[in-house]
């Protein structure tokens, strides 16, 4: 069954020139500038494609502007299983995703941008867990605490206003970083307050702390999700190319019962930084995204079922190249998770882990721990391409800092990715941004990307921070 969530404020910041729409203040400012969201009409355009082939389809959705209106506009019957506040908030989206999954949605369509994708990932991650305690709504904070809404789960659990306040100050100290930065901080800074925040925030996640939540966000269960592009920022490869394309996939999903899916990264940028003309997407979690079904008659080719095989092949090719006696620092992402599976080690989904001679020697390492490891002997960082922008370093894996990479020697990186990830860059180069001019310059040029056993692609790498050229799409 299909589910639909519309973020009714998605995209308002774009036309208003605000580089995003996160946060109540920005949304208010956008409205003052005359902006309006097109998320509702884009959602109904997608559903109109579904309606053409499945006129009697019922769509699980949220009351009012968060989906019900769009379902009706497409001529389909809404089944309202969640309510929303007014104005709507990030927590509403997460709660809605959780409710849709609980009501039996197998594919959740969401109209919005990266922020919406984050909230959907949060909701679906929590979907498999115990029902939330009576939710205590916490007002959506101002945009100086971007990233806090990734902790939406916390809002259902504690209801402590102080958590929000403490988290805000903790995040400010950490320069607005996301979950992985906070995780890193917990290991590196020794600030009791951060640890305390984390503990209280994640108390309901069976006491497992940050790692548990990170894990939860990466195992979204069986529920798939697909973005209907309607936001300002869409760095996450979880969106269809157009509303019609999303609708066609959803229709195929209903026709076939389901489709093959792929775990794709959920990325978002720090909008406050973006407004300062810095593009810093971070990895927030994973969504299970449907692939297009293979329907070609002329063969000579693999199909979508081949996509997962391509990831496995790339991982296999990387494993072939790993030598004994070398410490491999495995970065985050789906391809790295596959490599870990290939190696038989339990990897932290969003962290950097150290593998030596086929054994996991350090999980969720901080920058300082990585430096300590690297100084024990020969080492190499194993990284994949994070999201659609093509970053190898500096996004989502900041623990692999300039200092760490600088210690790795002349050939510091083993880059692993299926060929399709390079193709999806559309000819744009791979990017590195460790913040260190010399380290970045040393990586620029052409780099070998392992795409399979005995297969590499040679691909250009740029260091945009030092070339005066941005690569925002």
């Amino acid at each position: 069954m299909l589910g639909l969530i519309v973020n009714p404020v998605a995209g308002v910041g774009g036309p208003a020139g605000l580089a995003g729409s996160d946060g109540a203040d920005v949304q208010r400012l956008a409205r003052e500038r005359g902006a309006r969201s097109r998320a509702d009409e884009r959602a109904s355009a997608a559903l109109a494609v579904v309606a053409a082939s499945h006129p009697n389809a019922r769509v699980l959705t949220v009351a009012g502007a968060m989906g019900e209106h769009a379902v009706r506009a497409a001529g389909l019957e809404p089944v309202v299983v969640a309510q929303s506040g007014e104005p709507t908030s990030a927590a509403d989206t997460a709660a809605a995703a959780r409710a849709l999954a609980a009501a039996g949605a197998t594919l959740v369509l969401f109209a919005g941008g990266d922020g919406t994708a984050r909230d959907v990932a949060t909701g679906l991650a929590l979907a498999g867990r115990a029902a939330p305690p009576e939710a205590t709504r916490i007002e959506t904070p101002g945009d100086e605490v971007e990233g806090l809404d990734t902790l939406a789960g916390a809002r259902y659990s504690t209801g402590e206003a102080s958590v929000d306040r403490v988290a805000r100050s903790a995040y400010r100290d950490l320069e607005g970083g996301g979950l992985d930065t906070l995780a890193g901080a917990r290991y590196s800074t020794g600030e009791a307050s951060v640890d305390r925040v984390a503990r209280s925030v994640y108390r309901d996640l069976e006491g497992g702390g940050l790692d548990t939540l990170a894990g939860a966000r990466c195992s979204t269960g069986e529920v798939a999700a697909l973005g209907i592009p309607a936001g300002v920022k869409m760095y996450s490869p979880a969106f269809a190319v157009s509303p019609s394309a999303a609708g066609a996939l959803a229709a195929a999903w209903l026709t076939e019962g389901s489709l093959p899916t792929q775990l794709r990264e959920v990325l978002d940028v720090d909008e406050a930084a973006l407004r300062r003309a810095r593009v810093e997407p971070r990895l927030y979690g994973m969504l299970r995204v449907p692939d297009r079904p293979g329907r070609t008659q002329a063969r000579k080719s693999a199909t979508s079922a081949g996509e997962h095989a391509a990831v496995r092949a790339a991982a296999h090719g990387a494993a072939d190249r790993m030598e004994r006696g070398i410490r491999y620092l495995l970065g985050p992402g789906g391809t790295m998770a596959e490599l870990a599976r290939e190696l038989g080690v339990a990897k932290t989904p969003l962290g950097v882990d150290v593998v030596l001679d086929g054994e996991l020697v350090l999980a969720g390492a901080s920058e300082q721990q990585l430096l300590d490891e690297v100084r024990r002997g020969p080492a190499k960082a194993v990284v994949s391409i994070i999201g659609g922008q093509g970053f190898l370093l500096g996004r989502g894996n900041q623990q692999l800092s300039a200092r760490v990479v600088g210690e790795l020697g002349a050939d510091p990186l083993l880059v692993v990715a299926p060929e399709q990830k390079l193709i999806d860059l559309g000819g744009r180069p791979l990017l590195v941004d460790t913040g260190d001019r010399d380290v970045d310059a040393g990586l620029a040029g052409f780099i070998r990307v392992v795409t399979g056993p005995a297969s590499t692609s040679l691909y250009p790498v740029h260091a945009p921070e030092h070339e005066g050229e941005g690569h925002a799409p």
């Binding site: 053409a52 066609a248 093959p260 002329a298 060929e419 070998r448």
Partner: protein, 539 residues
């Protein structure tokens, strides 16, 4: 007054035959026979004894093969019905299988190869009794040497990928003979070269480095220079690439490879647009291959065995496959493969009927005719490109505004973004108009791709018809997308599930494998049935 013969509509109201024909194994009736073999005469039986009993156990079946049992007429109807459920090159405007060069294979040449003069020959026959066909093989090799500029040619391989394999096998043998086999472990190709180059190199044990195009879609010379090293065994490239774009720096590519001691191998699958215009050797290549079944007017592998031609410089000649036909004075002799040859890559002399067809095709055209083939193919392609690019939603990524050689890899990305209709769906719908259509090799580098190669064989009216079909489907995608999405409507079968073809647990390329995988091991009749080898491949 209405005409007795109504004018035909602009678009063909095609409908494919649908016979609901069972699999031939399902038609089997125990005891039914097509031919009743005459029993061996008692005198003969007494003279030769128990022939089967004398065979070693390992050569004898323990049980008869599970073959279908049918009368002749039923077999005839079975295959005629299947043939009507096909959309072959002799029926449709077959420009939609770009890279495959689907052109007219003259039927007169089929008559030529059907003569007893050829069919009664045996490859082990005394060469003195087969001088005519040996001369044809030798002459065809010499003509292909002239066309490519190379010194020596072999016609042994039975397909394009087999020829590419022979190319890398000779390259490997060359480096090993020079003591550099262990050092040169890498082969460089481009992502728009035919993927068999990467596949053959990997099969030969090489590490393959793939280069992506530069922003204009041309092969990236800077990337090549970064990839080349003393570890490079060869570059293996197609030119023009599958985009139809000719590498303007091809000489620099070859020179750069030679500068590090690597060889340069030219995949000429796309040679139909360059016959008589450019030659592999003139760009410095050491080795190249032709797909005879693409470029020289013989049927494709799917419609009869294909034929590959390997053409090499003198330095690589000792490594050619054998046996070889050579001329001694006014006679033609057969020489076994030499000491440094890569050996046999197929039985005897290759697919001789195709060699005879190609010989006749080349001789009928002559040098001027070959060049006219290329010029017409290029003209047709650029005409069709103009027609296709007039269709809203279609585009030809890369080298914008430039001419292409013999084919174009187009994109429906704009139409897809507007309507959600994919290139695959358009291809399925095209079959409702009696047209074949193909997308691209995987992975899709050009989004929502389709690849058209009109060759010299098609008239302007046929190209107009093909473009009109595409335009109509694009209109449908906008105005009645369900018609496209639910296609085909006029075909033998509806959709097939690709996962059944991709999953080793589910794919079944023999009846035996189908029975075993879907009905359990007990459902497989006739132990030792003849498709065990194919079954192994499937496994």
């Amino acid at each position: 007054m209405s005409l007795p013969v109504a004018p035909k509509p602009a678009l063909r109201r095609f409908h494919q035959a649908r016979w609901d024909e069972p699999i031939i194994f399902e038609l089997s009736t125990p005891g039914e026979r097509g031919v009743l073999v005459t029993p061996v005469e008692p005198g003969v039986r007494a003279a030769v004894g128990d022939v089967v009993g004398d065979l070693p156990d390992g050569l004898r079946r323990s049980a008869p093969p599970a073959l279908p049992e049918l009368g002749q007429m039923r077999v005839l109807k079975h295959y005629l019905r299947l043939s009507q459920e096909n959309l072959g090159a002799d029926l449709n405007v077959d420009v939609g299988q770009g890279t495959c060069t689907m052109k007219y294979a003259p039927k007169v040449n089929d008559q030529l190869i059907a003569t007893p003069d050829l069919t009664a020959l045996h490859p082990l026959q005394d060469p003195d009794d087969a001088q005519g066909v040996l001369e044809i093989i030798w002459q065809t090799e010499r003509m292909l040497a002239e066309i490519s500029g190379m010194d020596r040619v072999s016609l042994h391989t039975q397909g394009g990928s087999a020829a590419i394999w022979a190319n890398i096998a000779m390259i490997r043998a060359f480096h090993e003979a020079n003591g550099e086999g262990a050092q040169r472990r890498e082969v460089i190709t481009t992502i728009f070269s035919h993927p068999s180059n990467a596949a053959a190199a990997k099969a030969a044990g090489y590490e393959v480095i793939t280069l992506h195009p530069d922003p204009d879609g041309y092969p990236d010379l800077a990337a090549l220079r970064a990839a080349l090293s003393p570890r490079t065994a060869a570059i293996m490239v197609t030119n023009p690439e599958d985009t139809g774009i000719y590498n303007p720096a091809i000489t620099e590519w070859v020179d750069a490879a030679h500068a590090v001691g690597a060889l340069a191998s030219y995949d000429q699958a796309n040679a139909n647009g360059i016959l008589g215009i450019t030659r592999a050797r003139d760009a410095g290549f050491d080795v190249c291959h032709f797909n005879i079944h693409k470029t020289f007017g013989t049927p494709h592998g799917s419609g009869g065995p294909g034929t590959g031609a390997n053409a090499v410089s003198e330095a690589l000649a000792p490594f050619l496959p054998g046996p070889r036909v050579e001329r001694e004075g006014d006679r033609f002799v057969v020489r076994e493969a030499g000491e440094r040859s890569i050996g046999s890559v197929g039985p005897f002399f290759g697919v001789v009927p195709n060699i005879v067809r190609a010989y006749a095709w080349i001789m009928a055209l002559g040098a001027e005719g070959l060049r006219a083939v290329a010029e017409t193919a290029v003209l047709n392609n650029n005409y069709l490109m103009t027609k296709v690019l007039e269709i809203p939603g279609a585009s030809a990524p890369y080298a914008t505004g430039r001419r292409r050689i013999e084919q174009v890899r187009y994109s429906w990305q704009e139409l897809f973004e507007e309507t959600g209709i994919t290139s695959e769906e358009i291809g399925v719908r095209a079959s409702d108009f009696g047209m074949h259509y193909w997308t691209s090799h995987h992975p899709y580098v050009v989004p929502q791709p389709f690849t058209l190669e009109p060759t010299e064989s098609y008239s302007m009216a046929e190209l107009d018809e093909y473009a009109a079909v595409l335009a109509e489907i694009a209109r449908e995608a906008r105005e009645e997308p369900e018609t496209v999405r639910s296609a085909p409507h006029r075909q033998t079968v509806h959709h097939t599930h690709h996962d059944d073809l991709d999953d080793p647990e589910r794919w079944a390329i023999t009846w035996r494998a189908y029975r075993r995988k879907y009905f359990g091991a007990g459902a497989v009749g006739g132990a030792g049935s003849g498709d065990a080898a194919a079954d192994e491949v499937a496994a």
